[in-house]
Each structure stands twice: as structure tokens, then as C-alpha cells.
């Protein structure tokens, strides 16, 4: 079972390690609408990467492609060197391995919850895998995310933050190697957001987290990928370098300008406001 080791400083992922996820020239269209344009990057084991972009830039679609749920119009995606497509995932062995090792947390937790109790929700994956000690395993993850008092309740009756925690426990109960998170803080209050940042930081797995919250981004990863309004990848590098590049942030529609008054003086400049 995965242990949570909370550390202040994490060792940097080995730069020469083989990529865990590799995206090569991926483009995607829905009918006439372009969603992704010629995206390419690689993520190594243990990396914590943040995917930034304004609304409609294609972040959620990219995560669904990386979870093998939709096929890109062009390009390829590899997981541990093996090409993944919805067609190839029809092979039972690859499907089972990929689904247990790459987990996606949807933006809307309601989309993921359908079991009669929180216990069954967390047990859903391990049951399919036939993993032993089901009861201990469920209670372990419920304790870690702080929902053990709700195990007998239907998940639909929980608050948004609690649902998010149940979804996380349900995914982590399979001990995946990669966790893809689609705007995980979008529906959370500040306290739950703080908890999630700490929790994700303590997980020793590869994560790719989408957000358009610049103030939160450095807490979710050290490397940033930025999708521009033209749906292409316009930045791939350290997040701190991104945060000081106002031109790039403005090009990605991640910052805004508006008028300011300081006494009798009025001026305009670029801003990064904290908002969800």
C-alpha cells in the first residue's frame, strides 16, 4: 500500500528517467472547432506538473486524452513507452493495467459517484482488481482523506469538498502511478483547498493538475505547461519563471489589466488577482 511521506524538500525527479507520460504532436478538433494544436511534452516519474490555461483552452480535453478516454484527432500519447488509444485499450490486459495506474479526478465530483455508500465508492476499484484486505484498504484511504466518519452514508449527501475527498480516496485506493486532476480546487472552500495542496504535495506519485488559479499553481507543482488561447503549448518550464513573465501570462489570458486609483492618480497595469 502506498505510504504517505510528508517532506519539506522533495528530491527532484531524475532527468534521465524514461518518461511516464509522453505526448507527441497531439491535435484535437470537435467538428470545426479546434481544441488542441500540436501539443508535445514528456512527464517523468515523480514530477508534479501544473497545466495552466484560460477557460476553453483545452485543458480538460487534454486530460481526457491522457486518460485514454478520447482519441486525439492527430498525434500520439504514450504511457511508459506504450502507445495508448481508446482502440488499444480494448485489450483487457492493457485496459486493466492502464486504468489501475492512471487515474483521473474529474472537475465535477458528482460525475464520479454512483455507489450506494462511501465505503462502496472507495472499494469500487479494489474490488475490480480483486485486491486483498478490502476493508482495511478502504478504511486506510478514508482515514487519510478524512471521510472515515461518512463511510456508511450515500456519497450524494455529502458537501462538495467531502465528495472531492471521496473521489480522491476512490482513485488512490488503487495506488495509481499517475494522478490527473482537473481543476481540483474549483469547488473547494479555502480550508479544503489548503488541505488538498498539502495532501497532493505529500503523495509520492506523478501528478498533472489543471488550474487557472495562478496563485495556487506553484503549490501544485514546480513545472508549468501553459495552453494559449490558440490551443497550442506556449510554455513548458519552471513555474517561477512563468510567474515573472507578464507578457506570456497576458498572452495566455491568465492575467488582466484594469484601472487603479491611488488618491488622485489613476493608472492601468497588469494584475494577478487571487480567485477561484
Amino acid at each position: 500500500m502506498t505510504e504517505l511521506r510528508y517532506r519539506i524538500i522533495k528530491p527532484a525527479p531524475a532527468q534521465d528517467a524514461a518518461p511516464m507520460l509522453e505526448v507527441v504532436g497531439i491535435s484535437h478538433r470537435y467538428g470545426a472547432a479546434e481544441i488542441l494544436r500540436d501539443i508535445g511534452f514528456a512527464i517523468r516519474p515523480g514530477e508534479k506538473v501544473v497545466l495552466l490555461g484560460c477557460n476553453g483552452s483545452g485543458k480538460s480535453t487534454l486530460l481526457k486524452i491522457l486518460n485514454g478516454l478520447i482519441a486525439p484527432t492527430a498525434g500520439q500519447f504514450h504511457f511508459q513507452g506504450e502507445e495508448i488509444t481508446p482502440l488499444r485499450l480494448k485489450a483487457p490486459a492493457l485496459h486493466r493495467r492502464f486504468r489501475s495506474e492512471v487515474a483521473l479526478l474529474f472537475q465535477n465530483p458528482d460525475a464520479m459517484l454512483f455507489n450506494p455508500s462511501v465505503f462502496d465508492e472507495i472499494a469500487f476499484g479494489p474490488r475490480q482488481m480483486g485486491l486483498p484486505n478490502l476493508d482495511d484498504r478502504v478504511r486506510h484511504w478514508a482515514d487519510l482523506v478524512g471521510v472515515s466518519q461518512h463511510l456508511a452514508r450515500p456519497p450524494f449527501s455529502l458537501s462538495g469538498g467531502e465528495k472531492q475527498k471521496v473521489c480522491l480516496a476512490a482513485l488512490l485506493a488503487l495506488e495509481p502511478k499517475v494522478l490527473l486532476l482537473d481543476e481540483p480546487t474549483a469547488a473547494l472552500d479555502p480550508r479544503s483547498t489548503g488541505w488538498l495542496v498539502d495532501f497532493l504535495g505529500g503523495l509520492d506519485i506523478t501528478t498533472l493538475t489543471t488550474t487557472h488559479n495562478l496563485s495556487l499553481a506553484p503549490e501544485l507543482g514546480s513545472r508549468a505547461l501553459v495552453l494559449g488561447e490558440d490551443h497550442s503549448l506556449i510554455h513548458d518550464g519552471p513555474i517561477q519563471a512563468l510567474l515573472t513573465d507578464m507578457n506570456l501570462l497576458a498572452a495566455a489570458n491568465l492575467v488582466h489589466t484594469h484601472r487603479h486609483r491611488h488618491g488622485n492618480i489613476e493608472h492601468r497595469h497588469t494584475h494577478v488577482h487571487d480567485w477561484q
Binding site: 486518460n67 485496459h95 465535477n108 460525475a111 469500487f124
Partner: protein, 189 residues
Amino acid sequence: MQRDRIHLGLYLAGVLGATLIHAPAWLAAGLALVLLLSGRDAASLLRRAVLTVLAFNTLISLSYLGMAWWQDAFTQAPSPWLTLLRLNLRVLLLTCLTFLFIARTNLFQALDFSKSLTYVLGLAYSQTLTFSRAHDDFRLALASRSLTRPSLIDRYRASAAAISWFIEKSLHAATQSSQALRSRGFFHD
């Protein structure tokens, strides 16, 4: 714009005609005409229409047959088979006609003669888009979490959860929409 209004007029006339005509031969001829008008899309249009009405029509048809058998109606005129044929042809014709109309017509332009109808269409369209995306997410989330083919009970539970969510969201959205319209002076009660 003019073309879209003509499409709307023809569609309404088609719906009225399909409702008034009872002879299965004419209903079949109407269906053939719709498929002819849809050109290269005829096969996919027919397939979508059949899939759309399959569950409902099967249930209705089997219930009707059961009732006819119970009442010994097979020995009397008109034959229950004729009624079933008429019913299924009419539903299929109306469904194909509607799919063709939606595919070929800009509804906003067709209804732009009425401010009220355009408002209602705008609300319905935005809700449809939102629910369509949500429906995709529910479907993909089950696929994402399933290591093996989901069992019947899992699919039933996932469908029930989705339907429950849609009903709750629909009620919330309807309340919000009516409040927004009232706030903008749409209602004068």
C-alpha cells in the same frame, strides 16, 4: 433567414400531416421522402432515429400486443398489427423529420420573428449544451474508473446517479432561469 423560416413552416406542416395521415403506406412514403431529402446522411439519420425510439417503442408495442392478446383482439378488425405498424411508422417518421429539421435549420434565425420564442430557445439551447457536456463526463467517469466491463448493477447505479443529478440540476436551473427572466422584466404578472 428566409430559408430557415421556410424550413420551419415545412416542418410544422410535416408534423401536422404525419399526425393526420393514418394509412401506413402514406406514412412509409413520407419516411422515404424524408430519407431522400437527407441525402448522404440518410443511413446515419435513420440509425439515430431508430436508436432514439427503440426502447420506448418496444415497450409500448409489447404492452399493446399483450393487451390485444388478452382482449382477443387478433380475430377482430382492424388488426392490432396494423395499429402497431401505423404507430411505429408515425413515431419514426416524426423523429427522422425532427432530426433532419434540426440538422438543416438555424433555429435562432427561424424563430427570430418572436422575442419570446427566441428567449425560450436560448434557455433550452444553453441547458442542452450544459447537460450534454455533463452527460459526457458521467459516461467517461464510469469508463475511467472501470478496470473491467462494468456490471449491469454498476451501470444501473451510474445511470440512476446521473438521472438524479440531472433532475436536481434541471430544477435548480429552471428556478435560476425564471428568476433571471423575472429580474429582466420578462414576466409581467
